[in-house]
C-alpha cells in the first residue's frame, strides 16, 4: 500500500496526536517523545501492542489511557507474539468478510528488556514466520520500569542497580548486544535505527517499516534521564550526541542492503566531525565512575569498541 500522506513538517504538526498527553512518564523521558513521534507516522487503521515496561505502565493506568488507537498489552516477553496473533486474526477475518478494513497496520513496541532479553525468542519466532508487522524497540538501555537493572542493551561500563559500579567492578562488564544486526541477520525486509533528535528521519523510518510487506524492525535510541542520571532537559541533545559520537549510528538495512542514513553519512564523509565518546559519556551519571583514575582505562576501551563497530558498519554499507 502506498502512502498518500505528504511528509512535511506542517503535515506532522497538523496530524492529531494518537499518543496523547496526560501519561505519567518522568520529565525529559525520551521514550515518551518516541511514542508520540511513532504515532505521527501512521497511515491508516492501526493496532498497537506493547510489552510490559515504562511506556506501557505510564500510559495505561486504568481507567485512563494515552492511546487513541486500539492497544493491547499481555505480558513482558511477548509483544511480537501478540502482533502475530493480531495479524493472523485480521487476515482471516478479512478473508471471511468479518472486518471491513482493507488493511490494518500492526505495531509492536517494547523496551530493551522486552527485546534484547526476555522478548527475543518471541520476536525471532515471529519474524521467522514472516508476520506483517513493525516492531519498535525503544532502547533506554536498562530495565527502567523495575528500577534501572542491566539488560543486554546496557552499554559497557554503565552503572545500573544490578551492574553497579563498585570497588572492584566498574559497572557493566559486557558491551551492548548488536540487536539490530541480529534482526538484520533474520533476513527480514526492513531493519533500521533511529534517534528522536532526527525526528524526520525517525518518522520516515516508521512509515517505511509500516509500508513494507512482512516484518520490519526499528531500533530507536531513547535516553532516560532517571536511569542515565542525566539532565532531563538534555535527553534530545544526548540523542544527537550518540549519533555524532557513533555510539548509535543511524542506518537502514533494506532487503539485506545496509546503508547509512543522512546524519551518520555526514560523519562517514567527514570523519573529523566524529566526536569523542567521552563527550557523550561525561554528561551521564551512570558513567561518572569512569572519569576516576581507577576506571579511566575503560573509557579507551569504550572508544575502541565504538570505533570498531563503526568501521564494521561502514564496511557493510560499502564505505571504507
Amino acid at each position: 500500500m502506498q502512502s498518500e500522506w505528504k511528509f512535511t513538517a506542517k503535515d506532522i504538526a497538523e496530524k492529531p496526536d494518537l499518543f496523547m498527553s496526560g501519561h505519567r512518564a518522568c520529565a525529559g523521558c525520551a521514550p515518551a517523545t518516541v511514542m508520540r513521534l511513532i504515532m505521527k507516522a501512521l497511515r491508516g487503521p492501526t493496532i498497537v501492542t506493547q510489552a510490559t515496561g515504562c511506556m506501557e505502565v505510564v500510559s495505561t493506568i486504568y481507567p485512563y489511557t494515552s492511546w487513541a488507537v486500539p492497544w493491547l498489552h499481555t505480558a513482558f516477553e511477548n509483544a511480537a507474539a501478540n502482533a502475530s496473533g493480531i495479524e493472523a486474526a485480521i487476515k482471516m477475518l478479512k478473508k471471511k468478510g468479518r472486518i471491513k478494513h482493507e488493511h490494518v497496520d500492526v505495531i509492536a513496541i517494547a523496551g530493551d528488556g522486552g527485546t534484547y532479553d526476555i522478548g527475543i525468542q518471541a520476536l525471532s519466532g515471529a519474524v521467522e514466520r514472516g508476520h506483517d508487522f513493525l516492531f519498535v524497540l525503544y532502547d533506554n538501555e536498562a530495565y527502567m520500569n523495575t528500577g534501572i537493572q542491566r539488560s543486554g542493551g546496557t552499554p559497557l561500563g554503565a552503572s545500573t542497580t544490578t551492574s553497579p559500579a563498585g570497588e572492584v567492578i566498574p559497572g557493566k562488564l559486557e558491551p551492548k548486544k548488536p540487536i539490530a544486526d541480529i534482526m538484520a541477520a533474520h533476513e527480514i525486509p526492513y531493519v533500521a535505527t533511529a534517534s528522536p533528535y532526527y525526528w524526520r528521519d525517525l518518522i520516515t523510518k516508521v512509515r517505511k517499516g509500516l509500508e513494507v510487506e512482512g516484518p520490519a524492525f526499528l531500533h530507536v535510541f531513547s535516553p532516560c534521564p532517571r536511569g542515565w542520571r542525566s539532565d532531563p532537559a538534555k535527553s534530545i541533545e544526548l540523542s544527537r550526541l550518540a549519533v555524532e559520537t557513533c555510539v548509535f549510528p543511524l542506518w537502514e538495512c533494506v532487503n539485506g542492503e545496509y546503508q547509512l542514513s543522512a546524519p551518520s553519512k555526514v560523519i562517514a564523509m567527514a570523519p573529523q566531525k566524529k566526536k569523542p565518546v567521552r563527550e557523550y559519556l561525561a554528561v551521564q551519571g551512570r558513567f561518572r565512575h569512569l572519569f576516576t583514575p581507577k576506571y579511566e582505562k575503560l573509557l579507551d576501551e569504550i572508544q575502541r569498541i565504538t570505533d570498531q563497530r563503526w568501521q564494521k558498519l561502514l564496511k557493510k554499507c560499502g564505505i571504507a
Binding site: 486500539p70 493491547l72 499481555t74 486474526a89 482471516m92 477475518l93 519466532g125
Partner: protein, 410 residues
Amino acid sequence: MKSIVEQKTLALNGDEAVAYAVKQSDVDVVAAYPITPQTIIVERFSEYVANGEVETAFVCTESEHSALTACLAASLTGARTFTASASAGLALMHEMLFVTSGCRAPVVMAIANRALSAPINIHGDQSDTMAQRDSGWIQIYAENAQEVYDSVIQAFRIAEHPDVLLPAMVCLDGFQLSHSVENVNVLPDEVVKKFVGVRKFPLVLTHEGRMAPLKLDPENPMTMGPLAFPNYYFEFKRQQEEAMKNALRVIREVHDEYAKISGRSYGDGLLDPYFLEDAEIAIVCLGSTAGTVKTVADDLRTEGIKAGLLRIRTFRPLPVDGIKRALKHVRAVAVMDKSMSFGGFGGAVFHEVRHALYDLDEKPLAVNYIYGLGGRDTSPMQIRMIYKDLQEILAKNRVETPVKYVGLRE
C-alpha cells in the same frame, strides 16, 4: 427423539476427535506448539490446513508461551481461536493462562493430560491441569473420545457466551484417550457450524464514551490489558468469579441444547452420576477412569452392593451445590486424584469435594486415593479394592487413613 440429526461414525482417537471438532467449528486462528500426547491434534489440523479443508490461519509458533499469546491476541482482535497443549507446554503457558482469563478472551484449548517433570514422563496424569485450576479457565474433563469431540464443540459456545467470556480447556487423559481409537459419532459440518454460530461481541463503553463491541477495532479504539492499581484490580477479579458462576448455568444450557441435536448427554453437563441415586458407597473421579469405575460398579450391583459413581465433568467452575446434592445420601465416598498436592492433605479433587461436603448436616465419610501418576495403569481390580475399602470404612464408621495410594510399590 426426532430432532436428533443423522451422524457418521468415524474411528478416531481422542486427539483426532479434537482436531475434527475444531475443523467443524469455524475457527479463525489456531496457534500451537507440539508436545506429546497432544501432537496428533496439531498434526491433523495442519493437514486440514494444507489440504484447504478449513478456513483457519494456522500459526505454528516457536513455543507454547507464544502459541497461547497469539491465540489471546487474535481472540481479542475478534477471532475464534484454539490451541492445544499438555504438561511442560501448559506449564510454560502458565503466565498467559492468567492473562487470557483476565483479558476475558474466550480461547479454547485441548489438553491431553500428561505428567510433569522431573523425572521426565510422557504418560498421562492430571498434574498439569490441576496445577492450573486457579488460572481462571473453565475445565471440562472428558470420559471418552466421543465426549472429547462433543465437549470441544460445546466449549466454543460456552467460552464465547456474553455472560461468561472466559477461556475454556477440554481435558482428555493422555494416551488413554488421546491415543486410543474409538468409534466417534460426528455431526454434519453444517450442523456444527450452525451450533457454534458466528462469534458475537458484547457492547462496552469505550474511553471515548461510545458503546462498541469488545474487541481491538480501529473504528473504536480500546485499551486492553492495562495497568490497574489496588483501587481497581480487585473488582476485575471479582468479575471473573461472577463469570465463573454464570458459566455453571451456561455449561448446562449449552450441554442440553447440544444433547437435543446429538442425542448425547453427560449428566447435566457438570456432573455425571452413575448408579448414584440409591448408592451407599461411591467413587468420585474425573476423566477416563470413570469408564473403569462403571464396569466395576455394574459388577457390584449384580452382587447386590449399592455402589455408585459421581464423575465430575466440570471441575472449573466446580458445581458445589450439585456435588452436595449428589452425595448427601451416600455414606462413604472415595475421591480419586490423578495428581498430587505435595505437603498438602490429599489431592486437589479430594480437597474440593471433601470441602463441599463439610456443610452437610450428615456428612459422608470421605477418603482420598492418589492413583495413576505418570501413566501407571489402574485396573478394575484396584477399583474393586477401593469399593471394598469403602465397605470396611462403613463397617467401622470411620476413616483411618484419609489419603491412600493405589497401585504403588511402597
